[in-house]
């Protein structure tokens, strides 16, 4: 299943963001950051212990079922007293959850993780971006493999000159997206698709920030 993939912020950065804020309420998420082991029960407990060790007062903690859900406001009400006592909410959910929580009340929120991309766990502990949500899906012509996401340069007309033995110039462990696409199209007997000139991409297929309205709304 697709998930919001996060990475813990460096401890020094969290320390800096919490400077002068003595009382902390910690919020984790039972969905994406639980899957990525960056903001589930164990990480929230560990954060609690770390902060206590640094002399912070942890007024409470919770792992919300789905931090980005509309029900988050209801869930947080149960912790009203502990949240009121806190100077800051330290959020171990992705940025969607952190922003949902930030809208709930007049409390500073500090994210404890960086949100990297929308992707999936492709092997244990290995997370890959699958779709950059570019708004101009090209995979109908590339054998179902997305070059906009999987090619470091997002190239749509074939490989660059940096590819080597089927790997990418930025990382010898990373597969070259266009070698994969070539192999797939060859298997499908559809190499002609790769010969088609793809014109420059429309980088405004969706507005920035993204917004789309369902017809008839």
């Amino acid at each position: 299943m697709i998930r919001s993939i996060t990475r813990p912020k460096p401890e020094e950065e969290i320390d800096r963001l919490l400077e002068g804020l003595g009382r902390v309420f910690i919020i984790g998420c039972g969905t994406c950051t639980t899957l990525t082991r960056t903001g589930g029960e164990p990480e929230v407990k560990a954060m609690r212990s770390t902060l206590t060790g640094k002399g912070k007062m942890v007024t409470g903690d919770v792992v919300l079922p789905v931090a980005c859900d509309n029900l988050t406001s209801e869930a947080l009400k149960e912790y009203g007293d502990q949240i009121r006592l806190a100077d800051v909410l330290l959020i171990l959910s992705c940025a969607f959850g952190a922003q949902t929580i930030a809208r709930q009340g007049k409390k500073m929120v500090v994210p404890a993780v960086d949100t990297l991309f929308v992707g999936k766990e492709t092997a244990v502990g290995l997370f890959d971006e699958i779709c950059t949500q570019c708004g101009t899906c090209i995979i109908g012509e590339t054998g179902g493999i997305c070059p906009v996401t999987s090619c470091h340069k997002g190239m749509v007309n074939g490989p660059c000159g940096g590819t080597n033995n089927g790997k990418c110039e930025i990382d010898p462990e990373k597969d070259c997206a266009w070698t994969r696409i070539y192999n797939r199209l060859k298997d499908l007997n559809r190499l002609e698709a790769m010969r088609k000139y793809q014109k420059p991409r429309n980088h405004r297929a969706e507005p920035m920030p993204g917004k789309w309205t369902l017809a008839g709304r």
Binding site: N157, P159, C160, G161, N165, G166, I170, M194, K199, P200
Partner: protein, 295 residues
């Protein structure tokens, strides 16, 4: 106006191009020296564009300098640092300053260079930049708007004949030609029998091919390229040959090897010419040409 480089390509003579690299900073003396050394010897000199994604004096500025000093520049343009507005604007500017040759490159990743956190653009890629040039020559920009005043370029691109796997590169090569590439400078080739097989395929296309020759300066440098440069393979016998040179004479040996390769390409009429990359040692390019019997 047809550029002197294009005329040379069309003349049927054996064409020689080389490279000059703009400096890190504003001290242009070394580059000027290289331009002086090369301008009467080669048919054109490429001016590299933040080579290896290392921030430098711009290729456009370097190309203007070549022009001012009486040389024939090939403006290298990568798509890494500029979006389609900036690329087209720079093409207009280049044309207005008499720069009529462009090498269209997608560009190395910024991750490989000295500004690793930079935002990479890649709004266009090599094929699309070539197509943009051909569109502009017809009087339109990529937005579909009319351009005032003519513009024209001798436009080219690159290919890696020793890439593995090769087929995806060849498809791309053909797309570049269809998009408007008139000339192709290849990545370095060392195994000329392999290169001949590549040319057996490539010669069916209406494009002038210049074989890439990178000067070997030492055995460790050759091994480094084998390990780190995509699509470059220096055969072991060449590494052994340069390693066999007496102490302090490896460069001489490298010049001899490069000269010998160029001579064979010329004698066997493999392709339209060569593109000599002497990476930092541009002053020895005339020596390479002499070793090849070209001067």
């Amino acid at each position: 106006m047809v550029s002197a480089f294009k005329k040379a390509l069309q003349s049927g003579k054996f064409v020689v191009t080389s490279e000059v690299a703009p400096p890190k900073g504003t001290n242009l003396e070394k580059m000027k020296h290289h331009i002086e050394v090369l301008r009467d010897k080669v048919d054109a000199m490429n001016v590299t564009d933040h080579q290896g994604s290392v921030m430098r004096y711009p290729s456009l500025g370097g190309a203007i300098l070549v022009k001012e000093m009486g040389g024939e520049p090939v403006l290298q343009m990568t798509c890494r640092d500029r979006n389609r507005l900036a690329l087209q604007a720079d093409l207009l500017f280049a044309h207005s300053r008499g720069i009529n040759n462009v090498l269209c490159l997608t560009g190395d990743s910024a991750v490989l260079g000295d500004h690793k956190e930079a935002k990479e653009v890649f709004d266009l890629e090599s094929c699309q930049l070539l197509a943009a040039i051909r569109l502009m020559e017809k009087g339109r920009d990529l937005g579909g708007n009319a351009l005032e005043g003519p513009i024209s370029f001798c436009a080219g691109a690159i290919v890696t004949p020793e890439a593995n796997p090769i087929e995806p590169q060849l498809i791309k090569f053909e797309k570049k030609i269809e998009a408007g590439a008139e000339f192709i400078q290849t990545q370095a080739v060392y195994d000329l029998d392999n290169f001949k097989s590549f040319m057996d395929y490539a010669s069916q296309f209406p494009v002038k091919i210049l074989a890439g020759i990178i000067l070997l300066t030492s055995a460790p440098m050759a091994r480094f390229m084998n390990k780190n440069v995509a699509g470059v393979h220096v055969p072991q016998e060449l590494i052994d040959e340069i390693a066999s040179a007496p102490k302090g004479r490896a460069l001489e040996k490298g010049i001899e090897i490069a000269g010998r390769m160029i001579r064979r390409i010329l004698d066997e009429k493999m392709c339209a010419g060569v593109h000599i990359m002497a990476i930092g040692k541009e002053e020895v390019v005339p020596d390479i040409m002499s070793a090849a019997g070209l001067l």
